[in-house]
């Protein structure tokens, strides 16, 4: 009796630990900003019904896993078969070329060609995947707070200074702790940097030293953190280049003006509900232009997959026009698909604020500067963003002066470029 029990236990242990990938298994590593994980699961269930031979497993993880753990997995030749990633270009050497595998490469080129370069090694014509959403960085204002304070919401051409002034007035009047907040992210800092005339890309395609445009905004920004115009909390809540969002403060009505991006719309729509009114404002203007940043999350196939054919089938399905349309409409994401965009979308929400916000972002995409459009496909964007966040947050915490931070940013980036051996 005892022996049987032992053997059963041993058998259970053996079964539990056999993790060899079965043929037909396709694993997707996915992170969610809103409801897209559930929508995707729904779509995949349908796919599996139609393709009984392929078993798609969805691993929902947090964004930090994609940002911190996935790169090392890829470096070791591990990782999922498909992943949803934002730093696409820097890891392009790990993506699988789907060109020979997909049913119709011309369809991919036509509809997703605009962003294909964001996710492939420089100089190739690889199809690595497609953008699940295009994001535009931009601001959100708590309209209710503005109304209650009797302050007019700054108009379309309002500058960063106008917004700072207005937000501060509202916060003082309404006893709200934070007038403005900007995510702890280099990507988010870059919008206003470019609007102030900054440009990161040097003549040789490598990072240029910080120019006056970027410096001007960063100086203003650190000043705002110091005088309380900008929320200090988000920026000092970590060291290094860790990502932190201020969305919670906005949702809780503690924040007047929040600079984040279009991906927050579904999040706000579900979590704010009717608690207060909010509007998306696009990006405030700087001395040079009114650009925000573009970017987004791409769904890419990973080179180390054991089932490239099945992976391609899944990708073909998810990139097909009706699926992209349905996905975007249900998640309230701006799609990258040209055909879908041309035919227009009918976002599935009865929240008029969310619809208005999405339109505002579509509008804002028209004011993107050329530099902003180039950055997602630039190899060194992440190096620059990382250095910006690390050092600006030190300056914001009062650890170093802005000028020291500028010097450090330049040297950090130069070191990264040197380290990577390019």
């Amino acid at each position: 009796m005892k022996k049987t029990r032992t053997m059963l236990a041993a058998l259970a242990v053996g079964l539990l630990t056999s993790t060899a990938a079965l043929a037909g298994d396709v694993r997707i590593m996915w992170y969610s900003d809103g409801v897209e994980g559930e929508v995707l699961k729904d779509l995949l269930d349908r796919f599996m019904k139609e393709n009984p031979g392929i078993n798609v497993i969805l691993d929902n993880v947090s964004y930090s896993v994609v940002k911190e753990q996935l790169p090392v997995q890829l470096e070791a030749g591990n990782g999922p078969d498909i992943a949803r990633v934002t730093n696409l270009k820097a890891q392009a050497q790990h993506w699988l070329d789907l060109r020979p595998l997909v049913a119709d490469a011309a369809y991919w080129d036509e509809n997703f060609g605009g962003q294909a370069d964001w996710m492939r090694p420089d100089g190739s014509n690889q199809i690595s995947g497609f953008m699940t959403q295009i994001t535009i960085a931009g601001g959100f204002a708590n309209k209710t707070l503005f109304d209650q304070a009797g302050v007019a919401i700054p108009g379309k051409d309002a500058t960063w200074d106008d917004w700072a002034k207005a937000a501060k007035q509202v916060a003082e009047n309404q006893q709200v702790p934070f007038p403005m907040a900007l995510d702890r992210s280099g990507h988010r800092l870059s919008g206003p940097n470019l609007a102030y005339g900054g440009n990161y890309i040097g003549a040789d395609g490598k990072p240029a030293p910080l120019d006056d445009g970027s410096k001007n905004f960063l100086k203003t920004f650190v000043g705002w953190v110091a005088d309380g115009t900008m929320s200090k909390d988000v920026w000092v809540s970590a060291a290094g280049s860790t990502y932190r969002a201020a969305a919670d403060d906005f949702i809780n009505g503690q924040l007047v003006y929040y600079y984040s991006g279009s991906w927050q719309v579904p999040n706000f729509s579900t979590k704010i509900g009717t608690n207060f009114d909010w509007v998306a404002t696009g990006s405030p203007c700087g001395p040079s232009n009114c650009t925000g940043m573009t970017g987004g999350a791409g769904l890419v196939a990973v080179k180390y997959t054991k089932n490239p054919k099945d992976v391609a089938k899944v990708m073909d399905y998810l990139a097909s026009e009706p699926i992209v349309k349905e996905f975007s409409e249900r998640t309230l994401f701006l799609p990258a698909h040209k055909g879908v965009l041309a035919k227009g979308l009918d976002f599935k929400t009865d929240d008029a604020q969310a619809k208005a916000a999405l339109n505002a972002f579509v509008e804002a995409s028209k004011t993107l500067s050329d530099e902003a459009r180039k950055l997602p496909g630039w190899l060194w964007s992440d190096a620059v963003y990382g250095a910006l966040v690390t050092r600006v947050s030190q300056a914001a915490a009062g650890e170093m002066t802005v000028d020291e931070a500028f010097a450090r940013i330049d040297s950090d980036i130069a070191t990264k470029v040197k380290d990577s051996g390019n």
């Binding site: 630990t17 947090s62 964004y63 999922p80 209650q148 919670d248």
Partner: protein
């Protein structure tokens, strides 16, 4: 013992309180609040609705806004106490809010819309435990699966730890051989190498051995604990060598000596190690997070952290699930408290 205590902190006279008595109780009561308070607050907060969590000052007990079903409206409406123009106070239900003006109806006169400035209304609240904080995550949070993985990792790792460490401790305490000091130093040296420091090379080894995305990749790197060897060796040193010599006379094999004499006599120290191993492995977080990237392999801690993914900070769920992951450890503690405290006392740890 009491006389010792009396001696160390002798009371001045039988009646009055010596300052040490006062100090003792201040320390104990203070300790009670500082040690338990945070956990109690956590458990209390985990029953609050998101709105109640966001408010300041926070309430001690969980409250929610009371709702009422009003004729002519599908959904239940929030109730507010409103100061009317004539200064009277009335309970009204909110239909919708536009800007700073709220459109409200009186539950007994559902047709008549009253416009109220939102500053002039306060929600009517009742105490309510948001048990949905617990029930809802269970649909996304595969608790049973994570629990099973955690249990498997914890139990297996603890068993291996006990066997492997006690064998090594036996060798290091009861045999004279060349390199004994060196081996002991080597083991102690690893005390000084935290996992987070050798993470990158360890990752490459685990991945080369094919243990990536495998629970054994979590278990094996942790089982040869230097602390365990250290505790057991120190304890075994106190076992008289004569026992072993006598057994050898009786033709017992070395293996029998180990598992029939040494192990039973080391039981208190083994119990302590077992308990620590369970707690350590149960709470391991960073390494499992790195090795396990498939949801069916997550342990509870990894599941919890993934669940509290940074972009979706939903404190009400995170707090509830934190409480859930705490429960097994607290249970172990309650049942094994005797072992933990007497065990450590027994091992003496000299």
């Amino acid at each position: 013992m009491s006389r010792v205590a009396e001696f160390i902190f002798r009371r001045r006279g039988r009646d009055g309180w010596h300052w040490t008595d006062v100090f003792t109780w201040v320390w104990l009561i203070g300790g009670l609040f500082i040690m338990f308070g945070p956990a109690v607050w956590l458990v209390g907060s985990s029953f609050k609705s998101p709105a109640a969590l966001a408010e300041f000052p926070p309430s001690i007990m969980p409250y929610v806004t009371q709702k009422a079903t009003v004729e002519g409206y599908d959904k239940p409406l929030d109730l507010y106490e409103v100061t009317m123009a004539d200064g009277s106070r009335k309970v009204l239900a909110e239909v919708r809010r536009i800007g700073i003006v709220s459109q409200m109806v009186s539950p007994d006169k559902p047709t008549e819309i009253v416009k109220v400035k939102i500053a002039e209304r306060t929600p009517v609240r009742t105490m309510s435990f948001a048990t949905s904080n617990y029930s809802e995550p269970f649909t996304h949070f595969d608790f049973v699966r994570y629990l099973w993985n955690s249990v498997f990792v914890t139990v297996t790792a603890t068993l291996i730890t006990l066997i492997v460490n006690s064998m090594a401790a036996f060798a290091l305490s009861k045999y004279e051989f060349r390199g004994r000091t060196f081996a002991m130093l080597l083991i102690l040296a690893t005390l000084m190498v935290p996992l987070s420091v050798i993470m990158v090379p360890l990752y490459s080894i685990v991945s080369a051995l094919g243990l990536f995305n495998n629970l054994w990749g979590v278990i094996l790197p942790t089982v040869a604990t230097p602390t365990g060897v250290f505790i057991l060796r120190q304890y075994m040193l106190t076992i008289p060598d004569e026992l072993i010599d006598a057994a050898r006379m009786d033709k017992a094999s070395e293996w029998q000596i180990y598992w029939r004499i040494i192990l039973p006599l080391t039981a208190p120290a083994l119990a302590v190690l077992a308990i620590f191993s369970v707690v350590w492995r149960w709470n391991d977080f960073l390494w499992p997070l790195i090795v396990l990237s498939r949801k069916e392999l997550y342990t509870l801690q990894v599941g919890l952290s993934i669940y509290s993914g940074e972009l979706n900070v939903q404190w009400h769920f995170i707090l509830a699930m934190t409480v859930v992951t705490m429960i097994p450890v607290v249970l172990v503690f309650i049942f094994l408290q005797r072992f933990i405290t007497t065990g450590i006392a027994g091992t003496g740890l000299k």
